[in-house]
């Protein structure tokens, strides 16, 4: 009987709602109707009414939670996080808010921030929201890369990387990978030819920690064994970064140094990113790095544009311009130390999320490289990289 009565009230409220904006907004109207929309999964109307209510000064925890959840389901992670953070201001211990802030931040690729929120939940609450705060193995990933050079003086290089992500604490992640690279070629000196072979092995470790909800610190170490026709070089790279994300904006600052028996390369950079709210999660990231080698400083510019083509497909286009000799990127995971320095590169990466567990990616790239033996000449390289990540 009571249920019938409440249905009648909801129907009456819905019937009175068509004149949107003209209906007198009050708490009970907003609360009843948004709850009904939430229960019936009518995300579009829920978002519209919640936004109208907030404009009218009606703002409370459950409204923000419902709106946040509606945005999350719709794939608009920025607005989801924005609403859920408002809900958190009303009640910083609410498991619903914390749980869905975790998922919103995962959608924004802010895993440590997500971990920060889940750390505020009890083990039972995390279990209810299917959140595992610590994992020995969170994911394993594999990358295979080959490239086609436009010169006969260099063979097609091959690159392989195997990575493992662990989460010892909800706010702390540890990523480790091993990599191998090889290439053969001929250096054409005026009077002689020198055939070479490069073999390279690397170990990379990265720690990320969420100090505060929107502040992360990162530290990485990259060791590289580089065998250039039996002339061996050991490189040690140390990297530190501080990043902050404020709603749509992400800012980061980083510094690194690579030491080997040839010289020390120092690098410092700034990066700024912007995510446009919406289902497409359109993002723009721009960065500038200063690379200092043997008292010479060079600027390297980079940019990435990303867009979600669907719930399961995301595409990133990137470009980097500048003299990239011992330049590191992606938190020092990739070190551009090949014999021929890259002076320009661009690529397109498409990520396919097949299910909750597996993500594939395919990168096709173009690189313009300067000959080691003659820096007035360049050659081109087209690369293809395939990757796979398995979440546990």
């Amino acid at each position: 009987m009571l249920r019938k009565f409440s249905y009648i009230i909801i129907i009456l409220l819905i019937l009175s709602y068509p004149a949107k904006g003209q209906h007198e907004m009050n708490f009970q109207f907003v609360d009843t109707l948004t709850y009904h929309y939430y229960e019936s999964g009518d995300w579009e109307n829920l978002i519209e009414l919640a936004n109208l209510a907030v404009k009218e000064g009606i703002d409370y925890k459950y409204l923000r939670q419902r709106a946040g959840y509606a945005y999350l389901i719709s794939g608009d992670y920025i607005r989801a996080a924005r609403n859920l953070e408002k809900a958190l201001k009303y009640d910083s211990y609410d498991p619903f808010t914390l749980g869905y802030l975790y998922y919103s931040n995962l959608g924004l690729f802010r895993a440590e921030t997500a971990g920060y929120y889940s750390s505020g939940m009890t083990p039972d609450q995390r279990k209810n929201y299917q959140i595992k705060s610590t994992k020995i193995v969170e994911s394993i990933d594999l990358e295979l890369n080959t490239a086609f050079t436009s010169t006969t003086l260099r063979s097609d290089p091959g690159y392989f990387r195997l990575g493992l992500l662990s989460r010892p604490l909800s706010r702390l992640s540890l990523y480790q990978s091993v990599s191998a690279f090889n290439q053969m070629g001929t250096i054409q000196y005026p009077t002689q030819k020198f055939r070479f072979q490069i073999r390279q092995f690397g170990y990379y470790g990265l720690i990320k920690y969420a100090v505060l909800p929107h502040w992360n610190i990162k530290a990485a170490y990259h060791f590289i064994y580089y065998d250039f026709s039996s002339s061996i070089t050991y490189s040690n790279l140390g990297y530190a970064a501080l990043s902050a994300d404020f709603d749509m904006v992400t800012l980061s600052i980083n510094a690194s140094a690579i030491h080997n028996n040839q010289y020390v390369t120092k690098q410092g950079g700034l990066k700024a990113g912007l995510i446009i709210p919406g289902r497409r999660n359109l993002s723009f990231t721009g960065g500038v790095n200063v690379l200092n080698q043997q008292d010479t400083s060079r600027l390297i510019y980079s940019g990435i544009v990303g867009i979600s083509l669907s719930d399961k497909v995301r595409m990133n286009a990137d470009v980097t311009y500048g003299y990239q000799n011992y330049y590191n990127d992606f938190d020092a995971m990739y070190l551009y130390n090949s014999i021929d320095p890259v002076i320009f590169r661009t690529g397109l990466t498409t990520y396919f999320m097949t299910n909750k567990k597996i993500t594939f990616w395919l990168n096709t790239g173009y690189e313009r490289k300067e000959y080691f033996e003659n820096n007035d000449y360049y050659y081109n390289q087209i690369s293809i990289l395939g990757g796979l990540q398995w979440l546990f």
Partner: protein, 206 residues
């Protein structure tokens, strides 16, 4: 003569303005009286409408009363906004803060509830209602050290208050202070013979 007429007109205008300004007192009194009646009859929205018809933003009583009536009519967010205005007008009055707490409770906005209890305790550090409910809120958040401080203050003031004694006993138990907890559970049984909560606590300590 013309100057005299202008002066007289001006004087009358001023008089009228002052009458208009003075008039609201009676209108406000009537609106308040009607709002009490409406509250008695349970027609809270009528009381709200009466007060809104003579609303003065800088009138503490009007804002506090609107906060209360809106709370009763379950318009919690509006209630909070009026209580907020009242608090800004009289920051050292604690009644509006308690009113706001009621509305925040209804919305389960626990951080706002905590903020208001803490503000009340800054004004009146011995306020037992605030000490108790802030203690409960902290206890629910498993912040036992802070919760214990609140309950201890009440138990020191009112050693025979069963509610605070039993809460302090459980808080001490979760703090790992077993001896203190046992003494307090025993005392709770003295205040409430056969009390099941205290017996449960003592059983856990065995």
């Amino acid at each position: 003569m013309a100057i005299l007429r202008m002066f007289a007109t001006g004087f009358l205008l001023l008089l009228q303005v002052s009458i208009i300004n003075a008039q609201p007192d009676s209108r406000i009194n009537e609106a308040f009286a009607r709002s009490y009646k409406a509250e008695q009859n349970g027609t809270y929205s009528e009381g709200v409408a009466d007060l809104k018809s003579v609303y003065q933003p800088d009138n503490y009583a009007m804002n506090a009363r609107l906060g209360w009536l809106l709370f009763l009519s379950k318009q919690y967010t509006e209630s909070i906004s009026y209580y907020d205005k009242a608090i800004k007008l009289k920051p050292y009055a604690i009644e509006s803060r308690f009113g706001m707490i009621k509305a925040c409770n209804a919305l389960e906005s626990w951080d706002m509830v905590k903020e208001q209890y803490e503000a009340i305790l800054k004004i009146d550090s011995q306020n037992t209602t605030s000490l108790y409910w802030l203690g409960v809120l902290l206890y629910n958040r498993k912040e036992y050290d802070q919760a214990a401080k609140n309950f201890e203050k009440i138990v020191n003031l009112y050693p025979m208050d069963y509610g605070s004694v039993i809460m302090l006993a459980w808080t001490k138990l979760f703090q790992g202070k077993k001896t203190d907890a046992r003494v307090l559970f025993d005392h709770a049984i003295l205040l409430s013979p056969g009390d099941s909560s205290a017996t449960d606590g003592l059983n856990l300590l065995k």
